[in-house]
C-alpha cells in the first residue's frame, strides 16, 4: 500500500479579468504564500513543486515555470510542469499526490494558474494549424454541438442551463475570491443575455480570468501536525481518449465514466449518490452540470437535468454542486481544475466559509479538458481512511 496523502494547505488569489496589480510571479506567490500560511509552513518546508497551466500561448511564453522558479522557492528543488489541457489543474494535483504516495517526497507545493490578460486566449484557441481545419470559434463553438446533442437525447427542459447559471452565480456571491459577482442576477437576465454559441448564452458561459490556486500536500505523519484539519486523499484518477474517433461518445465520454469508476473503487465507494456529500466539477458552460452528473454516476443517463430542477445540486440541496460558484464564476483556465479540488478540500476541512456545506465528510473534485477527452478527479475525506 502506498503512503497516505493529505492536503494540508490551500491558497487562492482573487480572480479577476485583469490583475493589473501583480506580475506573473506576483500572482503565483499570492496563492502559494496563502497556502503556506494556511498550513503554517515556510518555503523551506517544501521538497518539490508541481506546477500546471493550460497552453503557454495564453501568456505568450514558452514553459513559463522556468522563469517562475525562484518566485516559487524552487531553486535547488525538483520542479515538474504538467499540461493536460483544461483538466491540468486536477492532473497537476494528482501528480503531486503521486510524489507523496510513492514515498519520494514528504511535502509538495502544487500550483496551477493562468494570467489570461497577458495574451489573448481567443487568439490562442483559434490558430490555423497546417493541414487542419481552423474552427475559429473558441471553446464554446466546440462544445455547443455537444450541449445540443445532450438536450436532444435527454429531452431536458430548455431552461436547465439558465437554472445552473443562476445557482452558480448566486453561490459565487458567497465566495470572496470569485471573479464574477452579480448581486442582482435574475433568471430573466440570464435568459435574455445574448446567444453566444447556440444554445449557449453569454451568461451561461465562463469568464476569462487571471488567477492561481495552490495546495500543500503532505504524507500521513506530517498531516497530523497541521494547525487546521487535513483533507485526506481517498483516491485520484486520470483518463484520456482520442479526440477524433467515430466510436467515442463526446457527450458522455467513456474516459470520464472510467475515471469516476476507478475513483470510487480506490475509495471504496459503492454508491456515490449516497456516500458523496458535495461535488465541485468543471462546468465552463452551464449545461455541463447535468452532463457530468450522468458521467460520474450521480444520475442515470438522460436524467442529470432533474438534479438541477429539483434542487439537489443547490447549495442547500441534498448533494450540492459547485458551491464556490464554479468555473462559471472564475476561470483562470489552467487553475480551474485545481480550484475545483481546492473547494472540495476546503469543504471536508470545514474551511469553505459562507459556502460551507454542513457536515461535508466526502467531497469530489473534477476537471476535464481538450474535446471532452481528458479527465482528472479526486475524492477527499474529512476522516483518515
Amino acid at each position: 500500500m502506498a503512503e497516505r496523502c493529505a492536503v494540508i494547505g490551500v491558497g487562492q488569489t482573487k480572480y479577476d479579468a485583469t490583475r493589473y496589480d501583480v506580475s506573473m510571479p506576483g500572482l503565483l506567490r499570492e496563492a502559494a504564500i496563502r497556502a503556506l500560511e494556511d498550513a503554517e509552513l515556510t518555503w523551506n518546508d517544501i521538497d518539490a513543486i508541481v506546477i500546471g497551466k493550460a497552453p503557454d500561448m495564453f501568456e505568450g511564453m514558452m514553459y513559463p515555470e522556468n522563469y517562475l522558479s525562484d518566485a516559487l522557492g524552487a531553486t535547488g528543488k525538483p520542479l515538474l510542469r504538467v499540461h493536460t489541457a483544461g483538466s491540468v489543474g486536477g492532473s497537476t494535483a494528482n501528480v503531486a499526490f503521486s510524489l507523496i504516495s510513492s514515498g519520494i517526497h514528504d511535502r509538495v507545493l502544487t500550483i496551477a494558474w493562468e494570467k489570461q490578460s497577458e495574451s489573448n486566449a481567443m487568439w490562442a484557441l483559434t490558430l490555423s494549424p497546417p493541414f487542419s481545419v481552423a474552427v475559429v470559434a473558441g471553446a464554446g463553438g466546440f462544445f455547443a454541438p455537444l450541449v445540443r446533442t445532450y438536450m436532444r437525447r435527454s429531452g431536458a427542459p430548455e431552461d436547465t442551463g439558465i437554472l445552473v447559471a443562476l445557482k452558480d452565480r448566486k453561490n459565487a456571491l458567497k465566495n470572496p475570491y470569485a471573479h464574477l459577482q452579480m448581486p442582482n442576477v435574475t433568471y430573466e437576465e440570464i435568459r435574455d443575455s445574448f446567444m453566444l454559441w447556440d444554445p449557449i448564452r453569454y451568461l451561461e458561459s465562463c469568464p476569462s480570468s487571471d488567477g492561481a490556486c495552490a495546495m500543500i500536500v503532505a504524507k500521513e505523519d506530517l498531516a497530523g501536525k497541521t494547525p487546521r484539519k487535513p483533507a485526506w486523499v481517498l483516491g485520484s484518477s486520470m483518463r484520456s481518449e482520442p479526440v477524433q474517433f467515430a466510436k467515442r461518445d463526446a457527450v458522455n465520454p467513456m474516459a470520464g465514466r472510467q475515471a469516476a469508476k476507478d475513483l470510487y473503487q480506490q475509495a471504496g465507494i459503492d454508491d456515490p449518490r449516497k456516500q458523496i456529500d458535495c461535488i465541485e466539477c468543471y462546468v465552463p458552460f452551464s449545461w455541463f452540470e447535468p452532463m457530468w452528473m450522468e458521467t460520474m454516476g450521480f444520475a442515470d443517463e438522460g436524467e442529470g437535468w432533474k438534479l438541477t430542477h429539483d434542487g439537489t445540486t443547490a447549495l442547500d440541496g441534498a448533494r450540492p454542486v459547485n458551491m464556490s460558484g464554479g468555473v462559471l464564476s472564475s476561470n483562470a483556465i489552467g487553475a480551474s481544475g485545481m480550484c475545483r479540488y481546492a473547494e472540495a478540500v476546503n469543504q471536508v476541512r470545514g474551511e469553505a466559509g459562507e459556502h460551507q456545506v454542513d457536515g461535508a465528510k466526502i467531497s469530489l473534485g473534477h476537471a476535464y479538458g481538450g474535446g471532452s477527452q481528458y479527465f482528472s478527479m479526486a475524492l477527499f475525506g474529512a476522516d483518515k481512511p
Binding site: A2, K77, V82, E241
Partner: protein, 349 residues
C-alpha cells in the same frame, strides 16, 4: 524504491521533416511498443513531453493521442517539458504501486521556425524577451564566461566537437557527423563568438518513445533489462544575471541525488547542446576526464528539442542493453544555459 527497467526504446531524427509530428511519432511509438513485448493495452500508463510553441498551436500534444493509441481510454499525463521529465513522472507513477508499466514519448519539430529565436520566449517576459536574445547568443555569453574563468578553452571545445561528430558516424540517427580535425575546426568562422557553427546544436525534427516496466516482468520481457537505479531533477534560478553561468548547481545536485558516483561509471550521455556545456557538465557532475561522454554524438549530432533528453537516456539504455557498458549516467537539461537538469543512473542486469 521499486526496480524499474527500460525494456525498449525507439527514435526518429531528421534534419528537416515533411511529415507532421503525429506522422513522425506514430511509427516510433509503435516500434517501442512492439519491441517491449507487451501489447499496447497491457501498458498501464502513458506520459509524454512536448511544447505547444513548436507546433504553433495550443494543445499540440492532444493530436498525439491518436498516434499512440488511446482507445479504450488510457491513464495518461503530459509535461510541457523534455520527454525526460515525462519519464520521471511515469517512474513516479510506478513507484506509487498503482501501475506496473508505462509508455513514454516525446516529439519536436523545429525546422519550420527559427528555434534559437523562438526560445527567447522562455525568458523574463517583461524585461528580457522584448529584446529577443536568441539562445545561440545567450549560450555564447555562457561560453565566453567559461573561457574567461578557464573552465574551458577554445581548443577543448573543438575537441568535443571533433570527437562527437566522429562518434556520430556509428549512430544511424545522427543528422550531423564527420571527421574534422581540431585544427580545422578552429580555423572556421564564428557563428556567435566564441561559438562556431559546429559548437551549436544539430537541430533536428523527430520523436522518441520508450517502454518501462517494473520488477520481474521486465526480466521476462527482455534479455538484459536496463534498470533505473537513481533518478533526480533540480532547477536553478532564471535570471541570467543572478546565476554564475560557469556553474550549474542543479546539474551537480541532480547527479549527486541520483547516486551517480556510488559505483564506477562506464560512460555518460549528457544533453549539451553547445560544446562548452559538455565540459561544464563534466566538471559539475564530477565526470572523470577520461570517461566516455556522448558516444552517440550527443546534441552536436542530433538535437530534437523536447525530445533530446529522453533521446540521451534511450541511447544510454540501448548501449547497455547491447552489452557496451554496465553502468551509465544519462542527463537531460533544458532552459536557457541549462537552467534545469535531470540525472538518471542506469545499470544493466
Amino acid at each position: 524504491m521499486r526496480d524499474v527497467a527500460i525494456v525498449s526504446f525507439a527514435q526518429s531524427n531528421a534534419a528537416s521533416e515533411v511529415r507532421s509530428e503525429v506522422e513522425i511519432l506514430q511509427p516510433v511509438a509503435a516500434e517501442a511498443v512492439k519491441n517491449s513485448g507487451l501489447a499496447r493495452t497491457e501498458i498501464d500508463f502513458t506520459c509524454s513531453g512536448s511544447s505547444d510553441w513548436l507546433q504553433g498551436q495550443p494543445f499540440a500534444f492532444v493530436m498525439a493521442l491518436d498516434a499512440v493509441g488511446s482507445w479504450p481510454p488510457i491513464k495518461e499525463s503530459h509535461v510541457e517539458q523534455d520527454g525526460a521529465w515525462a519519464l520521471y513522472e511515469a517512474w513516479v507513477k510506478i513507484q506509487t504501486g498503482e501501475v506496473e508499466s508505462a509508455l513514454v514519448y516525446s516529439f519536436g519539430k523545429t525546422s519550420p521556425g527559427d528555434i534559437a529565436q523562438v526560445q527567447a520566449l522562455q525568458l523574463d517576459p517583461y524585461c528580457v524577451t522584448p529584446l529577443w536574445p536568441d539562445l545561440d547568443s545567450l549560450s555564447a555569453i555562457q561560453a565566453r564566461a567559461c573561457l574567461e574563468v578557464g573552465v574551458v578553452t577554445e581548443r577543448a571545445m573543438a575537441e568535443v566537437v571533433s570527437r562527437s561528430l566522429r562518434d556520430a558516424r556509428d549512430n544511424p540517427h545522427a543528422v550531423r557527423k564527420g571527421d574534422h580535425s581540431v585544427d580545422d575546426l578552429l580555423e572556421r568562422p564564428f557563428q556567435v563568438s566564441p561559438l562556431r557553427e559546429l559548437d551549436c546544436p544539430a537541430n533536428s525534427d523527430g520523436a522518441t518513445a520508450m517502454v518501462i516496466v517494473a520488477g520481474d516482468r521486465a526480466k521476462q520481457l527482455c534479455d538484459r533489462p536496463v534498470w533505473i537505479r537513481g533518478f533526480d531533477h533540480r532547477i536553478d534560478p532564471p535570471a541570467l544575471g543572478t546565476r554564475d553561468l560557469t556553474r550549474i548547481p542543479s546539474a551537480k545536485l541532480a547527479a549527486e541525488k541520483a547516486g551517480a558516483h556510488r559505483d564506477k561509471l562506464d560512460f555518460a550521455e549528457v544533453t549539451a547542446p553547445y560544446s562548452h556545456q559538455e565540459l561544464l557538465l563534466r566538471r559539475e557532475m564530477g565526470l572523470a576526464d577520461d570517461l566516455s561522454v556522448n558516444p552517440s554524438g550527443g546534441s552536436l549530432a542530433t538535437h530534437t528539442l523536447m525530445s533530446c533528453g529522453l533521446n540521451r537516456i534511450g541511447d544510454a539504455a540501448m548501449r547497455i542493453a547491447a552489452g557496451k557498458g554496465d553502468r551509465a549516467l544519462a542527463h537531460a537539461g533544458q532552459g536557457p544555459c541549462l537552467q534545469q537538469n535531470l540525472a538518471v543512473v542506469l545499470e544493466g542486469e
